[in-house]
């Protein structure tokens, strides 16, 4: 079952899909399980940590990029259209 959100995320810094996030979450879970129960699979643990760091960095970049775009949009849009857009995005 492929579950796709109605809105896909696109940004200049590359696209992070929900599937990738879910993957990462389960990897982190298994890593946590390993850490608690004493098994040390160094190679895969290192890879998961590396992937995790990449994800966090790209999420930080997205926040940065989206902040700039929001700044531009607040500038360009009139007060009422910006508010309408925001309320629409809340309801969807």
């Amino acid at each position: 079952m492929s579950s796709r959100r109605s809105r896909s995320r696109q940004s200049s810094s590359g696209r992070i899909t929900d599937q990738q996030i879910d993957d990462l979450m389960s990897k982190l879970q298994s890593l946590l399980h390993e850490a608690r129960h004493g098994s040390h699979d160094r190679a895969s643990a290192a890879k998961v940590l590396q992937d995790t760091c990449s994800y966090i960095r790209s999420l930080h970049r997205e926040v940065d990029d989206l902040s700039e775009r929001l700044s531009e949009l607040l500038d360009a849009a009139g007060a009422s259209s910006a508010q309408a857009a925001i309320i629409r995005s809340l309801l969807m």
Binding site: R9, L24, L74
Partner: protein
């Protein structure tokens, strides 16, 4: 029970995000309108930075005080003029220095034991992606509406 727009009838795969997503949206939008009111139109870069800080603040307030990363974010925001380095030098020897790079990326990561770090990381990533999704949604709506 969340449901997305009628354009796509796929169910929300993360129903637990419902109430906190709304709280996040309220906080962020309130901060956004404050930024808009108080920042002069000429300083777009400054406004961009303020929006970014509003994003992290909303995230942290919504996550609450129960998370070490959110406490660290709020500490950092309130003392941003003085404190740049987040990670304290003292790492407990039993925890070791595992995952140094990750510790630098996750707020408050420096002083945590390894297991806590992994838990905090998972929560941080979930909240970060929720924030990104919110911001992307606002940008999409505002862009499609047009002047």
């Amino acid at each position: 029970m969340d449901s997305k727009s009628s354009a796509c009838s796929s169910p929300n795969p993360n129903p637990t995000l419902g109430p906190s997503k709304l709280m996040l949206a309220f906080r962020f939008l309130r901060a956004l309108s404050l930024v808009r009111r108080t920042t002069p139109a000429s300083s777009r870069t400054c406004r961009g930075r303020r929006i970014e800080r509003a994003a992290y603040a909303s995230m942290a307030y919504t996550a609450g005080a129960s998370r070490a990363w959110s406490r660290a974010v709020l500490r950092r925001l309130h003392h941003r003029a003085r404190r740049r380095a987040v990670a304290p030098r003292r790492l407990s020897t039993t925890a070791g220095n595992r995952a140094e790079a990750l510790r630098r990326l996750v707020p408050g990561g420096g002083g945590m034991d390894y297991c806590t770090l992994l838990e905090e990381t998972a929560d941080y990533i979930k909240c970060l992606s929720m924030q990104v999704e919110l911001m992307q949604g606002i940008v999409d709506s505002a862009s499609s509406y047009g002047p």
